[in-house]
């Protein structure tokens, strides 16, 4: 019995192929529509602002945010999902990227840190990877107190918060729900996501990551 249980855990712990997205995203979309809701996680940022009393400063936050409580629960569930997946079903804890991508990462760091077997899933030290090359140790408190880490974490967070509300949705709201509903504005927003992402990845990110302060 125990052996079967271990086998199941090992089976789930393998890296999942891309087509599993059908079930993961399909499950979330189906049940949220079934509950008469819509899938979109960045709306929670607006809710949290409103809950903190931002309505006193801008009308945009003057809405009945308690009606959005369900979405905060989806976010809470996602938090639990991350906890369980990382700690109990993490597998080898690696990102199984292509050789071409490995070459790109090594090009960014101007070294030969990575090969196809040692790219971690998350570029940080806190839980899964006690040791990681300092260059890629981005998601840690130590990193936050460098200019480089501050730009990556605080700059990225600010842009995501600002951009998601400006565009009226994020990856889940536009790229999944919006495209699935054949909304032309969502297609424009997704093209925008890619234009912004390409500019950042190709022309800005390598120089930020190479900063030594």
């Amino acid at each position: 019995m125990n052996e079967n249980f271990d086998a199941i855990i090992q089976f789930i712990s393998q890296p999942w192929p891309w087509w599993m997205g059908t079930f993961v995203i399909g499950f979330a979309m189906f049940f949220l529509l079934y509950f008469d809701k819509e899938f979109g996680l960045s709306a929670n940022l607006r809710t949290m602002c409103a809950a903190d009393g931002a309505g006193d400063f801008a009308d945009f936050f003057n809405f009945d945010w308690q009606q959005q409580g369900w979405n905060l629960m989806v976010a809470l569930g996602a938090l639990f999902g991350g906890y369980i997946a990382a700690n109990y079903f993490g597998g080898d804890g690696m990102a199984h990227v292509s050789q071409a991508a490995v070459d790109t990462f090594n090009g960014i760091s101007q070294s030969d840190i990575f090969n196809v077997d040692n790219v971690p899933l998350i570029p940080g030290t806190d839980v899964i990877h006690p040791e990681i090359d300092p260059f890629w140790n981005l998601y840690s408190w130590r990193s936050l107190f460098t200019l480089r880490g501050f730009i990556v974490i605080i700059g990225g967070g600010f842009l995501i918060g600002f951009g998601a509300r400006y565009a009226g949705g994020c990856t889940s709201g536009h790229a999944i729900s919006g495209l699935a509903d054949l909304q032309l504005p969502s297609l424009v927003a997704v093209i925008g996501f890619f234009v912004g992402g390409l500019i950042m990845t190709w022309f800005i990110l390598p120089y930020i990551l190479r900063m030594t302060i």
Binding site: N44, N71, A85, I128, G192
Partner: protein, 137 residues
């Protein structure tokens, strides 16, 4: 119970996205360099499945839990907000390598520095709310 069903939906989504490696910055950089089909496969299957599900609800083949049809809201067809907002979001997505949903997964996984990321995202949201009337939509 009312709350539990939403937590379960979020749990399955979060667990699955972690195992699909969509939380990984390295997967995001790889995607923006067009060096693997993986992320495009996830988005593509997600959209196709979502399309079928949305159509079933739209045509009333499936009714919601309340026994009524789900009302889809058309997004307003004004373009500047989607172009500028989209580009700004995309730059943030590629800069940290994390989008607004994946942030919750990383917090759960124990990367507590994402509290600062969440704070910054709230600040960005608040800044948008404050500047909204002055921005082109």
């Amino acid at each position: 119970m009312k709350v539990f069903k939403y937590i379960l939906v979020g749990f399955i989504f979060g667990f699955g996205m972690w195992k699909l490696e969509a939380v990984s910055t390295f997967r995001i950089i790889e995607m923006f360099h067009f060096q693997s089909f993986h992320m495009y496969g996830i988005i593509m299957t997600g959209v196709i499945t979502g399309l079928i599900i949305s159509q079933l609800f739209k045509r009333g083949k499936i009714k919601t839990i309340k026994g009524i049809e789900h009302k889809f809201n058309d997004k307003a067809k004004t373009w500047p907000r989607y172009i500028y907002g989209g580009i700004i979001f995309g730059m943030g997505w590629a800069l940290t390598g994390v989008c607004s949903g994946m942030m919750f997964l990383l917090l759960g996984a124990g990367y507590t520095v994402f509290i600062a990321f969440l704070g910054a995202a709230l600040l960005g949201t608040f800044a948008y709310g404050a500047l909204r009337t002055k921005l082109p939509h």
